[in-house]
């Protein structure tokens, strides 16, 4: 399959507070993600996994290296890459419908068409009946459903998900993981998914990239060759699933490789 995201020698250093030095966050990451592939990035907190996603999104400029999407170098944000953030980042002054329509209207889609499409997506994320609600009136899980619908609305070919279920309780979290897989199975967009949960990464992904602690480097890339559609209860008794989980947990635990 064609390469959708090509990350080549990507590094990022942030200016450290009160000193003239720079603190490296990510070091020399190279990664190819195929079209339609679901790839998760896991690693200890502070390893720069979110920064990696922000650079693919074009929100943060790399210090060295480059990212290209569908063969074109990334120079800034664009509607081909739709982000979903842990903080939801909804427009609080817009209703559920207004949030989901926003990107479509921004793309110049006329209002009736945008509304019809937004309503279909709201139904897809199971929020029918909440169209006129404001974000403050919704639970965390509902907010993240709105955010997913808002991003899907303008039709990005890539989803960039930054610990999207990290702020939710365990029950809501597994529910949304199932829904995300259902949605993903329909059109198999390319997904780059950042998480600190190994379980979540293995359940969702085709491939899991493990980063080392700060500065983040690629420690290992593991193919998740579990059949789809996946059922959580079935996976738990699956030998291959258990082996993968143990292997990645070991990678996460093992002493850090110092540069």
């Amino acid at each position: 399959m064609a390469t959708m995201i090509a990350i080549d020698g990507l590094s990022k250093a942030f200016a450290a507070a009160h000193t003239a030095t720079e603190r490296p966050a990510l070091s020399d990451i190279s990664l190819q993600i195929a079209e339609g592939e679901f790839v998760s990035i896991v690693g200890p907190s502070g390893c720069g996994k979110s920064t990696l996603l922000y650079m693919v999104g074009g929100f943060v400029a790399p210090s060295r290296g480059a990212v290209s999407v569908a063969g074109k170098p990334v120079t800034g944000p664009g509607p081909d890459r739709g982000p979903v953030f842990q903080e939801f980042a909804l427009f609080p002054w817009k209703t559920v419908l207004g949030n989901v329509m926003y990107g479509l209207l921004q793309q110049g889609v006329n209002k009736p068409e945008a509304e019809a499409k937004a309503r279909a997506l709201i139904s897809l994320v199971r929020l029918t009946g909440y169209e006129r609600f404001y974000p403050k009136e919704l639970s965390g899980g509902m907010k993240q459903r709105v955010a997913i619908a808002r991003t899907l609305a303008y039709g990005p070919s890539i989803l960039l998900m930054d610990e999207p279920f990290g702020a939710l309780d365990a029950h809501t979290r597994t529910g949304l993981q199932n829904e995300l897989l259902e949605i993903w199975e329909r059109d198999r967009k390319t997904v780059l998914f950042v998480t600190h949960s190994v379980e979540e990464a293995v359940f969702l992904s085709d491939r899991v990239v493990v980063l080392t602690a700060s500065p983040g480097r690629v420690k290992a890339t593991i193919d998740i060759d579990l059949p789809r559609p996946r059922r959580r209860a079935e996976l738990l008794v699956d030998r291959r699933y258990q082996t993968l989980m143990i292997r990645i947990e070991h990678l996460m635990d093992s002493p850090q490789v110092q540069p």
Binding site: F59, G78, P83, E87, A89, L90, P92, W93, K136
Partner: protein, 261 residues
């Protein structure tokens, strides 16, 4: 079953008003100072002032100047504050200036401004403009600074340019905070309106007040103060209504409601 008095809307503030009037009435009786007439005499004076066409024209002129100064301040201070909140260079340039001008009593500038602009509407409108601009630009600045980066990124991913983000994301997101500044600005507008008319006496509510004072018509002085207070209360209530209509979507950050207890 006892009915809780605070549960009846509007009753607690009404009781407070009556309490204040009663206290005033008693103080006037006890001290017997010419400069402190009893409350009922000031209240009797109200219909006379409010039915005097000349007084009404004066009041309307005051309100007009205040509105012009206020609207001009909004038009300048909101864009300035938003730009400061989103650009470090703009903030570094304007913030020290604003922080220096903020504590200066704007009415103190009146004599100088009158040297430039004469004694008509212009100097009064200018000091109102200055008084209102500072709280509004400060709060617009704070509001714009607090906009979540990821909300802006979400808009950027939809293809929205930074300039449009300022208008279509930063402005609405900062609106609750801007309204805090608007409310403070309104109070300052009222204060500078009266003090400017006190210094450049020609027309306006402040002029009625100080003319009455000169002629030792103390009941009229107090009646005018009551009118100014009622004006402030009414305008504040109007802003509050506008606020709850415009930003019903916001989390209640500042519960400041005056007219609604």
């Amino acid at each position: 079953m006892s009915v809780r008095l605070s549960a009846i809307p509007g009753l607690p503030p009404l009781l407070a008003c009556f309490g204040l009037l009663a206290l005033w009435e008693m103080a006037a009786k006890v001290f017997g100072i010419a400069g402190l007439p009893p409350a009922h005499e000031a209240l009797y004076e109200l219909p006379a002032i409010l039915s005097d066409p000349e007084a009404l024209i004066n009041i309307l002129h005051s309100i007009r100047r205040m509105s012009v100064g206020f609207v001009l301040a909004l038009a300048v201070a909101v864009p300035l504050g938003l730009a400061m909140g989103r650009s470090r260079i703009v903030a570094a340039f304007f913030n020290p200036l604003l922080m220096m001008i903020y504590p200066v009593p704007k009415a103190a500038l009146m004599p100088i401004i009158m040297l430039w602009l004469g004694i008509g509407d212009a100097p009064k409108t200018l000091v109102i403009f200055l008084g209102v601009s500072l709280p509004i630009s400060y709060h617009a600045y704070q509001g714009a600074r607090a906009v979540e980066e990821k909300v802006l990124w979400s808009a950027a991913a939809m293809g929205m340019s930074p300039r449009w983000q300022l208008l279509r994301v930063v402005l609405p997101a900062a609106l609750p905070e801007i309204f805090v500044g608007v409310r403070t600005g309104l109070v300052l507008a009222l204060i500078t309106m009266v003090t400017s008319e006190m210094i450049a006496r020609q027309a306006g509510v402040g002029n009625i007040l100080f003319n009455s004072l000169d002629m030792a018509q103390y009941d009229a002085v107090y009646a005018t103060i009551l009118i100014i207070a009622a004006l402030g209360f009414g305008l504040d209530l109007a802003i509050e209504r506008l606020r709850s209509w415009l930003i019903a979507w916001a989390e209640p950050v500042h519960q400041l409601a005056v007219g609604t207890a």
